[in-house]
Amino acid sequence: MPRLTLPRVLLIIASLGTAVVLQSAVFARLGLPGATPDLLLVVVLVVALVAGPAVGAVTGFAGGVLIDIAPPAAGSIGQTAAIYALAGFVIGHAQFEPGRPDLQSVLSIGAVAAAVVLVQAILGTLLGQPEVTWSLVPLLVATQFIYAALLALLIIPAIGVMYRGAGDEGRFA
């Protein structure tokens, strides 16, 4: 695994911030069928693939807290953080060559993102918050798989290249 340097930490923070804003100010307003493309989760999963399970879990936790407190979120805090941390931890165990969107990593990001939608729906039903409309869940899971896989095609090279670059002291520090 690549070493975690300060430029890399800053890169992760900047990516999370950008993803949160783009997701609510652009993606959620497009009115796409089914789920809203979860750009934030894809960023978390790509970081986890590049940097391993520990960094992936922390990144997922930070991203989950961020999306739960950023407007227009008004629901509970902590659920998303726990699920994203788990997702980052799980996918961080996969072997990965940074910067190369191979079929396996694209599909696994799609699958984990789809699973996250399902887990969120199950947790929402158990806790009674939010009220989950189960007739919509299959469509949400299926569309999130497609959106996340498509986003992964772009995000994997972008974050992979920047992450490797940010570790190179000569170029960034």
Binding site: G17, L22, R29, A70, P71, P72, P130, T133
Partner: protein, 287 residues
Amino acid sequence: MLGVLLLVSITLVLLDVRGSSAIGGLRGLAATVIGPVETAVGAAAAPFVSVAQSVTSFGNSQERSEVAAQELAQATGSDQTQTDNARAASQLDAMLKTAGTRGFQVLPARVVAYGSAQTFSGTVTIDAGSNDGLTTDMSVMNGNGLVGKIVAVGPTTATVQLVTDDDSVVGARLVKTGDAGALQGTGQPGESILRLLDPTSPVKEGDQLVTFGSPDGKPYVAGLPLGTVTGMRGEPGQADRVAVVAPAARMGALDVVGVVVTSPRGQARTPVSPAAPNASPPASAGR
């Protein structure tokens, strides 16, 4: 590592449930920092978003004519930003007309961010906040009717809970019969549930709903269009009989909205001295 993070998450959930002021402060900080960025990005993306919305929505005839007008504008050479401005201007006109007829004082604002569909909640961010005099529990409307109410304010942004949010309950009145009930959101954009106080009262498809109104117009002002009954569920005469309602404002494509700052219901009333019934012919229109 993961265990610690999960424990912290559960702690956050518990603190939030107990209404901790630290969590409130965290949300306030996020609104102060992220709100303005969302406003800037949302405004920059508005022309592209409106194109996407016109493609992804299968709207009513009014919307189709709006799309046709946009396409016409494109064909005659004006750019997308101009057509977006024209559409926003027509939405503003419609909103001011709806507010003006009812004597509301409104603050116009634009929707800059939406919550994700998979969270099953319906909240949006608007680009006005406490600096503009907004507080929680103010009604938000557009040209078609009630949109929702403000549930949180930051300095330059506010969070609006839509009528379709799963936590939203709005007092409603059937226009035709005057029957009162409660309109409950389901988290689905086009489908809310109406429970009438008297489940035996007649409701049928196509019946119109307006807001019942709260004291001082907070959180909801009276008399705004709320939606149209599109179907019924449950047995007639049974307590579980509910009506399915399509909200008047289309929640998927919100842009220009108005926050009702003062309404006539919030002002002091003047007593009236009606003439004796046989002194003059009845002139009232009745309900």
